[in-house]
């Protein structure tokens, strides 16, 4: 069950540029969070920016009753969080949402991350390694500075393939390119998991559909509440047994969805499905 409490910041690790790791004491999140789940967090009680923000759980310590998030301070809300000092509390509600599904036995988990979308995969690796499973991470960004926390995966003994659009680290180009090369080389019954910008998620979904691979994507729309009541974060989803898409809350029915059920923006194949939905909308 998600729990709502003031969680004190216990550790703050500044990284390059706008990136920072924050660790909060929150027994329920520490004990129950699974990879792909998130916590709604707000620093302070200022009315100026009313809403909390969703953050993927990156790591947990049951022993210390803590969880860690990976934050890119991009706006006033995330900056207020990034500026918290150890001992200061943030309002935290979690863990929330649908986590990633563990891949079937003997399937290799291939995790595709864009920028701060890397966060849930550290916890996912922990879960899989604990069960003797293997994982491989493909990590993309515009430039090397966007590929933070790589050492978290090295520490876990997980292979990580980097890709940057400017070539400053790893493969020069999109992260899906080394992923395709790895699949071409004969990956063992791979299952894909993706978290990052929509364009990257869409590319992974297309690639998975083309190759007939199972894939889950973690979507990141604007969320108001995290509980399924504001209906602000809905995404068009069409399951195999449904005649048309329906708006579903990313906060409660996601953020992780089976990639084939997502009706993507800017995709001709999705356009008719999206129109079918919008014809019925207000």
């Amino acid at each position: 069950m998600p729990a709502n409490r003031d969680a004190p910041l216990v550790a703050r690790v500044p990284l390059d540029g706008p990136y920072v790791l924050l660790t909060f004491r929150h027994p329920e999140v520490a004990a129950e969070a699974r990879a792909g789940q998130y916590v709604m967090i707000k620093a302070g009680t200022s009315a100026d920016l009313p809403l909390r923000r969703p953050f993927s759980v990156m790591a947990v310590s049951a022993e210390h009753e803590t969880f860690t998030i990976f934050l890119k301070a991009v706006g006033a809300g995330s900056r207020a969080l990034a500026d918290l000092r150890p001992g200061e509390p943030a309002q935290c509600l979690g863990p929330l949402g649908r986590p990633f599904t563990a891949p079937p036995e003997k399937s290799e988990a291939l995790m595709v991350a864009g920028g701060y979308g890397i966060a849930p995969f550290a916890l996912f690796c922990d879960e899989l390694l604990r069960r003797g499973r293997t994982a491989r991470v493909f990590y993309g960004g515009r430039t090397a500075a966007d590929l933070q926390v790589r050492e978290a995966f090295a520490e876990r003994g997980v292979a990580l393939v980097a890709a940057t659009e400017d070539g400053s680290l790893g493969h020069r180009g999109r992260v899906t390119e080394p992923l395709e090369a790895y699949l071409d080389a004969g990956a063992l019954r791979p299952t894909l998991f993706a978290c990052g910008p929509d364009a990257m998620l869409h590319a992974v979904a297309r690639l998975a559909a083309r190759r007939g691979l199972p894939a889950e994507v973690s979507l990141d729309p604007w969320m108001g509440c995290g509980i399924g009541t504001c209906l602000g974060c809905v995404v068009p989803i069409q399951r195999a047994d449904e005649p048309r898409p329906r708006y579903r809350c990313a906060c409660t029915e996601g953020p992780v969805f089976d990639a084939v059920t997502v009706v993507w923006t800017g995709d001709d194949a999705s356009l008719a499905r999206r129109r079918a939905l919008e014809e019925t909308t207000a």
């Binding site: 709502n4 009315a47 009313p50 809403l51 108001g224 509980i227 504001c230 809905v234 919008e278 909308t281």
Partner: protein, 320 residues
């Protein structure tokens, strides 16, 4: 109603409805209540007003649907919902274990649909009252179109009045020049109380794309940004009619709730704050108790209408 252990009375009566405290969850900000069941104790609340319900399920507006603005939230959800029959069959029984009043917010594209939705909820146990949504700014028919014309307001309220013996509570739109005209129209049509106010029509622009930030275009503004407007309009409505007024708009603390009650509201609804902090009810209740103690009062009803407005005769029962 018995007072709490501290001897303080927080119970109020609105439109014949006895609420154990003056706090209701506002429509559209609390789902159907059950979503919060594992996160807070629903029995803390005086009542829950459901998300608006039509006869049929609705998909609502395209996305994006919400935008955060200074001290506010702009939304165009478009009344996505399960429809009244699914609510009655699947949701209402799950609310039965909680000691809180369930108020159903009814919607319609036509006057007849409002009445039909009302008849359906009137026929089942577990519903304490009906709130009439004549003020949603995010639908192309119905909604604010009814709440923006006093004759239409009268027609909808009269039709709902005829369809039920439950208390009938129209929720008025702030997007009008003089809310007292609408308050009187609703009272004349047989309303038992009024909810004041719904969201204010707004527009937020993404300057990079030069498009509205919401897919629907305009949206309804809520949150602390609208509170002074909401207090003013609830106060105007309360002065215009004899039926009680339920204040709503930007309430997130005990002091916020008290502003509305002092301005003449018998009860209040908490809206956007539900998204921000599920602990808001426990906090407001403890702040109301602290206020009563600090002012030597035993009953929350003693503050209702206690506003000393410049030029008005001194209100009755005010402790100077």
């Amino acid at each position: 109603m018995t007072p709490g252990n501290d001897g303080l009375h927080l119970a109020v009566e609105v439109a014949g409805l006895r609420l154990k405290n003056p706090l209701l969850a506002a429509s559209g900000t609390f789902g159907y209540g059950v979503e919060y069941a594992g996160i807070l104790d629903l029995s803390l609340l005086g009542g829950i007003v459901t998300k608006g319900l039509y006869l049929e399920p609705r998909d609502g507006c395209p996305t994006p649907r919400i935008a955060e603005t200074p001290s506010g939230l702009l939304n165009a959800i478009g009344l996505q919902g399960v429809g009244v029959r699914a609510f009655v069959k699947e949701v209402l029984p799950r609310l039965a274990p909680y000691d809180t009043a369930v108020v159903v917010n009814v919607c319609g594209d036509t006057v007849e649909e409002y009445a039909e939705v009302t008849r359906i909820v009137d026929a089942v146990p577990g519903v304490a009252a009906v709130e009439i949504n004549i003020s949603c700014p995010n639908v192309k028919v119905g909604g604010m179109a009814f709440g923006g014309d006093p004759e239409m307001t009268y027609a909808v309220v009269a039709a709902v009045r005829k369809a039920t013996r439950l208390p009938v509570i129209p929720k008025l739109s702030p997007n009008v020049a003089d809310i007292s005209v609408f308050a009187r129209a609703a009272e004349d049509a047989g309303a038992d109380a009024l909810s004041c106010i719904n969201t204010l029509l707004g527009l937020a622009v993404d300057v990079e794309t030069r498009r509205p930030r919401l897919a629907f275009g305009t949206g309804g503004l809520s949150g602390p940004a609208i509170r002074p407007i909401a207090v003013r309009m609830a106060w105007q409505a309360a002065r215009a009619v004899r039926i009680p007024v339920i204040g709503v708009g930007g309430i997130g603390s005990g002091a916020d709730a008290l502003e509305f009650m002092i301005a003449g509201c018998r009860a209040v609804q908490v809206g956007t704050a539900n998204f921000v902090d599920p602990g808001v009810y426990a906090r407001i209740l403890s702040e109301l108790r602290a206020y009563l103690e600090r002012h030597g009062l035993r009953d929350i009803n003693d503050v209702v209408g206690a506003l000393a407005f410049p030029g008005d005769p001194a209100p009755l029962g005010v402790h100077s």
